[in-house]
């Protein structure tokens, strides 16, 4: 008897052979799924990246509103709202007392400008800025580099214009401090040249400041702050909150941030929600496409499927064979789409993202692990979509009598 090879997966390989029999149609199906998969993959990775970038970027945009004492000086032309050094102060519990609904987050700051800090050259003007680490949303998002340890008392953060390496010991009013982190460039003077520290640390310097200058600055009095930076609560408008603040609190000045940027933030958040719906519709339309195509495929192959039933194939085996074929085609399409999507992302990286970064707009790519997870979900999603699309035609054809299928009447 002659030798012959025994294939391992004869029934499974039937599906692959069926796909190979109609190369043009299979190629079109794979291409259609690949395009959908590429759009979904690229879209999801970009959306997630934009989400991450927005979370950091919009935090970096600072506050929507700033509340300072009525006669305090403010820089109203800067894109980033910052409290300017002033001797005017507000009560630290001012906003807590008012209990206004439109306030999402509020961060108090103490800003003290001095030429007697011992820092830098003789008589160099330095802004010491105290912030609440728990509530801050305008300073910490700008950190670009930091020491690889948790923060501790005596740590300071330097603005981007200060050319001092991380870990350097500096002295402020005779007290040693360590440069823990540095901020990115913001283009706003106070922000660029400031020395930032938790308010508790700044308040702890008060006795040394008094000893050196002969007085305690008003913003370093317990219960006093230079001003508040406010982020609107979702749904609140800048105008509403401004009126509410002025109606409830006296002796204050309310400064608006970029209303346009606030609108963009709210708009993009809504757009992201819409994009999720579009991705769902993309999967649904692909499932419909696969369903229509596999209706045609099983109709064309009624004779073959009828023959398989006639020689003993169970309904589950018939359905399994058709689904295997669909899963293979759409899974391959999904994989091609992810590869194509990765190429698209490379193009974006060298064009759009490059220009955004050049313009100083931060763009943070989704990390590698999550990108792989999104890719795997896209491939599985494509295969699952194929299975769902082919299930109805496969189930329908499996119900017919073999003789009807063989005669072409199924």
């Amino acid at each position: 008897m002659r030798d012959f090879s025994i294939p391992r997966w004869l029934l499974g390989s039937l599906a692959l052979q069926n796909l190979g029999r109609r190369k043009a149609r299979t190629t079109l199906l794979v291409a259609a799924v690949a395009i959908s998969s590429a759009i979904v993959f690229t879209g999801v990775v970009m959306m997630r990246s934009i989400e991450t970038s927005m979370a950091i970027g919009f935090s970096r945009l600072g506050a929507d509103l700033m509340v300072v004492a009525q006669h305090a000086l403010t820089n109203i032309t800067a894109a980033l709202l910052t409290v300017e050094p002033t001797s005017e102060t507000l009560d630290a519990d001012l906003l807590a007392r008012a209990q206004l609904d439109g306030i999402g987050r509020a961060a108090a700051q103490r800003v003290f400008r001095t030429e007697q800090s011992d820092f830098g050259g003789q008589g160099e003007s330095v802004d010491l800025i105290g912030y609440d680490p728990e509530r801050d949303f305008t300073i910490q998002p700008w950190i670009t580099e930091r020491l690889s340890r948790p923060t501790r008392s005596g740590d300071v953060i330097l603005g981007a214009a200060r050319e001092i390496p991380l870990g350097t010991q500096i002295v402020l009013f005779g007290k040693p401090c360590q440069v823990y982190a540095k901020l990115g460039r913001s283009g706003v003077g106070t922000h660029e040249r400031g020395i930032f520290m938790p308010s508790a640390d700044l308040l702890a310097l008060a006795p040394a400041i008094k000893q050196q200058t002969g007085q305690t600055p008003p913003m370093l009095e317990p219960g006093k702050v230079s001003g508040f930076l406010i982020e609107l609560a979702p749904g609140a408008t800048e105008l509403q909150l401004r009126f509410a603040l002025l109606a409830h609190l006296s002796g204050i000045k309310v400064i608006s941030g970029g209303a346009l940027l606030t609108g963009i933030r709210q708009g993009i958040t809504a757009l992201l929600g819409g994009a999720v719906s579009l991705v769902s519709m993309m999967f649904a339309s692909t499932a419909l496409l696969v369903s229509v195509l596999f209706s045609a495929i099983v109709t064309e192959r009624r004779g073959e499927l009828g023959l398989l039933k006639a020689i003993g194939a169970k309904r589950t085996q018939i359905v399994g064979m058709v689904l295997t074929e669909a899963i293979l085609a759409t899974g391959i399409g999904g994989l091609c789409g992810v590869v194509f999507g990765m190429l698209l992302l490379r193009v974006f990286e060298h064009s759009l993202v490059y220009y955004l970064t050049e313009m100083g707009v931060p763009f943070i790519w989704l990390d590698q692990t999550n990108t792989i997870v999104v890719g795997a979900i896209c491939v599985s999603g494509a295969a699952l979509t194929g299975a769902i699309g082919a299930l109805a035609p496969a189930w329908r054809v499996s119900r017919h009598d073999p003789y009807d299928l063989i005669r072409g009447e199924g």
């Binding site: 008897m1 012959f4 004869l10 069926n18 020689i311 194939a313 009598d401 073999p402």
Partner: protein, 228 residues
């Protein structure tokens, strides 16, 4: 040769197709009995209903009415899976059309019913398929694809596939309709030998009276009914 017990018993078997022009009776109340191991020829003109009768006997087409016992089993009362098992294990089919899967080699086509039924290990099933092909004179065609074989070789491959699970009933629906006279003779000898040597009950559908002449039992069908 008769083994004494009933292989087939049908009563008032009927098949009606619903068409756009109303119902059409393909088979009209057929009564038929057949003992195991015998050779029955069903003859009749094209469209007389003999293939439809064969399809009902073989579990390929639901009867519209009547009762049918095959190998003592009321096959049309079986559920889907049991029916699939019955078709796979107990019945061998030889169709009147080229019924090999074109993308599979001859030996893969032959082994397919065994793999679908998962009766034995894959290697044992392939050994049996190889033996059958060798017995039918196709020992050098294991790796041949249907398109590389003659019509006669293809038909013998189909016969090997029908025998792979050692069925009790072999149904041959016009198995030589598209073959030349010499090949037709070879195939008929082969089927007759299977019936005689293996004791496999054979039902042959044909419109060729000469082919039917060797059968132990002949049923003539016209217009969906048995002609006395």
């Amino acid at each position: 040769m008769s083994l004494g017990f009933e292989m087939l018993s049908c009563r008032a078997l009927r098949k009606t197709y619903q068409t756009g022009r109303g119902p059409v009776d393909a088979v009209r109340g057929i009564d038929l009995d057949m003992s195991a191991g015998r050779y029955l020829a069903v003859i009749g003109r094209s469209g007389s209903g003999k293939s439809t009768l064969m399809a009902m006997i073989g579990g390929l087409s639901h009867p519209s009415a009547g009762s049918l016992l095959v190998d003592d089993t009321d096959i049309w009362s079986l559920d889907d899976n049991a029916m699939a098992r019955f078709r796979n294990k107990r019945i061998g089919y030889i169709f009147q059309f080229a019924s090999l899967l074109p993308s599979l080699r001859a030996i893969d086509n032959v082994v397919l019913p065994a793999l679908l039924g998962r009766h034995d290990g894959t290697a044992d099933s392939y050994k049996r398929a190889a033996q059958l092909l060798t017995d039918l004179g196709l020992g050098s065609h294991f790796d041949a694809y249907p398109s590389e074989m003659s019509a006669g070789e293809q038909r013998r491959t189909v016969i090997a596939r029908a025998l792979i699970n050692d069925p009790v009933l072999l149904l041959a629906d016009e198995p030589t309709s598209d073959l030349d006279v010499e090949t037709e003779g070879d195939i008929m000898v082969l089927l007759r030998n299977i019936n005689r040597e293996r004791g496999t009950t054979l039902i042959l559908v044909t419109h060729n009276l000469a082919l039917a002449s060797e059968a132990e039992q002949v049923v003539h069908i016209a217009d969906g009914a048995i002609v006395p």
